[in-house]
């Protein structure tokens, strides 16, 4: 087993473990923290995949910005273990079983496909900013622009909704 492989399996294990904890943790703040941990492990995987820029953005945007937002809100709403509502164990159990079945079915169906490993990475620099930037601003310029509409809309909406109504 090479270093890469061990790294992959280690990260994968941590990722699965921490994401399970996201779901299982009773305290929402813990969930957030585990989620951030998951993001970090995923960043590791990205780097393993030679997608360095994605990995970095993942940390900056996800762990840095989005998750902080989550934390803020949780703090703001003063959520903690005591206030955390719990589903009955039965539902949890059923939920996990269902999810498990789904996973088995999905992996089963994907296994059958057996995508080959033969593809060799042609471009080592593919995951770098320069390369991605080219693609983003050449091929994907339009979505890039259009996303701004989404942001604008979301921004206006978020302000609209979160603001206390004066009327």
């Amino acid at each position: 087993m090479t270093v890469t492989q061990s790294l992959f399996y280690f990260l994968a294990f941590v990722a699965i473990f921490s994401s399970l904890l996201v779901v299982l943790a009773k305290n929402p703040i813990h969930s957030v923290l585990y989620l951030i941990l998951t993001f970090f492990t995923l960043t590791g995987e990205y780097i393993l995949l030679n997608a360095q820029f994605v990995g970095i953005v993942n940390i900056i945007v996800y762990a840095g910005a989005i998750m902080v937002l989550f934390l803020f809100v949780i703090m703001l709403l003063n959520l903690n273990v005591q206030t955390e509502p719990q589903k009955t164990n039965l539902i949890k159990f059923i939920g996990i079983i269902t999810g498990g079945i789904g996973l088995v079915v999905l992996t089963g169906s994907l296994k059958a496909s057996d995508p080959s490993n033969l593809v060799v990475i042609q471009n080592v620099d593919m995951g770098l900013v320069k390369n991605l930037g080219k693609v983003l601003f050449k091929d994907f310029l339009l979505p890039f622009e259009i996303v701004s509409i989404l942001f604008l809309s979301a921004m206006v909406g978020a302000v609209l909704l979160a603001r206390k109504e004066t009327k």
């Binding site: 539902i91 269902t98 089963g108 169906s109």
Partner: protein
Amino acid sequence: MTEQLAWLIPVLPLIGFLINGLGYKKNPKGLVGLVGCASVLGSFILSILVFFDIKANGAKTIDLYEWISVGTLKIPFSFLIDQLTSIMLLIITGVGFLIHVYSTGYMHDDEGYGKYFAYLNLFVFFMLLLVLGSNYVIMFIGWEGVGLCSYLLIGFWFKKTEYANAAKKAFVMNRIGDLGFLIGIFMLFSTFGSISYADIFPQAQAIGTPVLTAITLLLFVGAMGKSAQLPLYTWLPDAMAGPTPVSALIHAATMVTAGIYMIARSNVLYVLSPISMAVVAGIGLATAIFAAVIALTQNDIKKVLAYSTVSQLGYMFLGLGVGAFTGAFFHVMTHAFFKALLFLGAGSVIHAMGGEQDMRQMGGLKKHLPITWFTMLMGTLAIAGIPPFSGFFSKDEILAHAFEVSPTIWVIGVLGALLTAFYMFRMFFLTFNGKFRGTEAQHHHLHESPVSMTFPLIVLAILSVVGGFVGVPEAIAHLFGGHGESHLLNEFLSPVFSQSTTILNAAHHGHLSHETEYALMGASVLGVLISIFYAYTVYVRKETVPAAETARRVGLEKASYNKFYIDEIYNAVFTRPLDNLSQLFYRILDKSIIDGIVNGFGQLTQWSADKFRRIQNGYIGSYMFMMVVGIILILVFNFLF
């Protein structure tokens, strides 16, 4: 000439109907009576002309217009006037005219005078159509039409519920027969490709016996209904609810003989089917005896006559069944005379009694109603079969033919004749002899009827007496030194029956000898005389009065008095079960099951809506859960199968 005027024969009464019917409120009574009688008289005169024309020139077909023409089914509105028809025409218009005249007196005080004459005219119209039609469908028109008029006239005094019910019963019973008739017509059409007599009869011999048997039996079902034979006779006694002249005309002289006319008309078909002949004879004989037994114990003067009519009709069918077509027809004719006479006489009695019909309330009317008494006596003698009154000849001819077929039938037939004589004289004696048993008021009211009523009585009495001479049997004619052509009627009608006579003769062995005939006649006359004497002993000598309604009766008497409970049986076997079935169908099958299924769809929708609704329980968690289940199911389905 016949061609130009014959169509007027039915149309004149129709015009009378229209005048009286449309103006039933405004027309003065005089005009109503005049129109009513004159239209029928006109038809009568035309019928006489037609009669002589036919006598001279033979049968005629008169096409009026194409009534229905669909594919190969062509039903022309056309008339066939042959010997049979012309005799019927004479009977219908002649007796009809007399009864119209009689009615002007009898119904004079009735508020529905105009309506009455309208109906009566309409009846004559349909009856004429029945006998004039050149095909079975036109006959069927008349057939049902007279049924309608019978309905209208029986229910003439419709305010009484039981009268209205009697009318309905008559119509429905007739319709049962009509269904048979109708199916018979269909069968005729599919067999012969036509419904015209002229097309059917010549072909008849080429058709297989089973088919003909089916056809003739079906037609006979129709005849059973119309001519009140077992088992469809019960309407006729009830039909006495109508005004008495109606009973005389429709329920004695004309309409009820339509069945005989139909079979006589279809004689060719019948003689080709021995089974049918046997059935006709059997039913006729059974009816004759059965009705006679019932008549023995009836106390209502019209009921006695009604059952007697049923019985006499049975004789006619017996005649048809044994092949005595002329005899049967002869009896139709004489019966028309004497039975009309008897009914009108009874009407006269009832008129005098102020509407009373129960013979137990009568008695000793001889001195109050001499003309009625005398004419009734003639009629009674005629029906009893005393020579030389008309009934003797016609009945004798039927019995003689019956003897040819089987002596047993003859014995039973004579037995019926004895019963007839007994109940008729019972009626006669109870009415006219002895002391008056009615109330004082009725006693004061007693009077002889007006001329308009007695005149028809007299005419009919004469006919009852002499009517038989048109059909004097060869044996008797021989006795008086006559020759072969003494039986005028037979001779006149022979073209109609020639084909069947040939067939019958081919099958039959020789004729009765004159000696046998004398013996038979003698035996029956003797029996009748004894029977009359017995009636005389009981009701005149001993002055027995029939027991009151409430009296205890036993055995056959009880059964006879209660008409063998046939009405009750029909009620229990048909009417009530059908009504129950109706309710069952309506409440259970229609409302609960079929509609229940229809509504069930609605309820199923509602029910499943309620279930579906519960899935939408408002919980995001459960929605998500179900979505995931959906996803998994889809994945499982797509990749594991």
